[in-house]
Symmetry: C2
Subunit: 239 residues, 2 copies
């Protein structure tokens, strides 16, 4: 194992569908890494960084054998999520080993930390965080991502909770108009277990967001999506 | 207008989101053409061919000016749906004129009738009809589509109502493994106005379909999606 950098892994599960963004509906496995350089107010994965969850250091082979234990032969796509997976240099080796087995890799990151292995990822979703998160975007860093990544394999996704977030989304899209752009409804009730009420709220917010975008002449080449997994399974983890 | 072939148009509406398939969530206008060479048992657009709706012959300019009346400056994508839009030679001219205005065009067809203008379409969804439709697939004709279309711009979508449909979906995917493949939950209650009950049913069927696909080692590089517009607006037309 010399030279291999372990990755702090919070959870591995699947196969399930990707509920969001550019490959919504895709059959995929999930590997969720620990640690984040952000502290978003509404983070739905705060257990990856607030001390309430515990990660396990795993090298690529460990992760792949865990994936195989869960679903050998039933998957060809793995989504690396966090936290911010781009904190971890060891993911480069994991992607390399997945590709050797004809398995694709997707990554979601907020676009704050560059890793060269990102150029090998099949679907990269960059999700700059809007004002409601309490975080601030470093546009120069984001520019680096957009310069280095291939547009065909990259998308931008902004989660919308309020008017300011919507204005921020426009800025992002106008700065990188050639990158596939997704607006996503924010989930502002990340702790409820009342799935029916949650779905009613999320549908309502989705309809409102659709209406707004449809009337907007500055947002044309865009996609507006819900989080399908939340519509299906509420705030439950590991589905 | 010499040489222009009018297209029988049933309805033009939007902008709204594309509720299905490869560009799910995309802001788009819809142009629905009249006439179909199929008679699917569960067709949700039977008014395009069963005599209950009335079409209007329109040439490309008419259609574009109607689109502009509805939403000038607020759209850059038009979805041509039916019926079977591939019945109409005149659509070639429409696509040409849309492209001249930097507007993309998507088409959905069952893959029975080839038109050379299909090679100019930005997103082509081929939806071969499963056994529950009562229709039979002409595989040779479908092969023509798959040979002539560019894989990057093409997807296959199969609607699933039952076990036989699921088996059919596998056949389609195995025959064209390099084409993006979507499984979609069928709506077997196309007349109800009880949106709440409909959503409960559709979610249940979607969850069942997801579970099935997740356990299936012959379906890995696939996407499983609902019809988002039906989840949002039930069986209402023109949204
Ligand atoms: S960037 Fe993502 S994981 Fe990190 S705090 Fe924000 S929402 Fe949570
Ligand atoms: S091919 Fe489409 S429009 Fe034609 S009958 Fe079947 S479902 Fe209806």
């Amino acid at each position: 194992m010399t030279g291999q950098k372990p990755i702090p892994v919070m959870e591995i599960f699947g196969p399930t569908i990707q509920g969001e963004g550019m490959v919504i509906g895709r059959k995929t496995m999930f590997v969720r890494t620990g640690g984040c350089d952000y502290r978003c107010r509404w983070c739905d994965s705060a257990f990856t960084w607030d001390g309430t969850g515990k990660s396990k250091p795993m090298v690529a082979e460990d992760i792949i054998s865990k994936l195989d234990t869960l679903a050998a032969g039933r998957f060809d796509h793995v989504t690396l999520s966090g936290g911010n997976p781009a904190l971890h240099a060891g993911i480069g080796d994991l992607i390399h080993k997945l590709h050797a087995k004809n398995i694709q890799a997707a990554v979601e990151t907020q676009g704050t930390i560059w890793q060269d292995w990102l150029t090998h990822v099949d679907d990269v979703t960059i999700s700059p965080k809007p004002p409601s998160s309490g975080m601030e975007t470093d546009w120069k860093k984001l520019d680096t991502f957009m310069t280095k990544l291939s547009p065909q394999k990259t998308s931008l996704k902004v989660v919308i909770f309020n008017e300011e977030d919507y204005a921020f989304a426009k800025l992002v899209h106008m700065r990188y108009p050639h990158i596939s752009f997704f607006l996503q409804v924010g989930n502002d009730d990340i702790h409820t277990t009342d799935d029916t009420t949650l779905l009613t709220q999320l549908r309502y917010h989705y309809e409102q967001l659709i209406e707004k975008v449809m009337l907007d002449s500055t947002l044309t080449n865009v996609r507006v999506l819900p989080q399908l997994h939340t519509w299906m399974w509420g705030n439950k983890r590991g589905v």
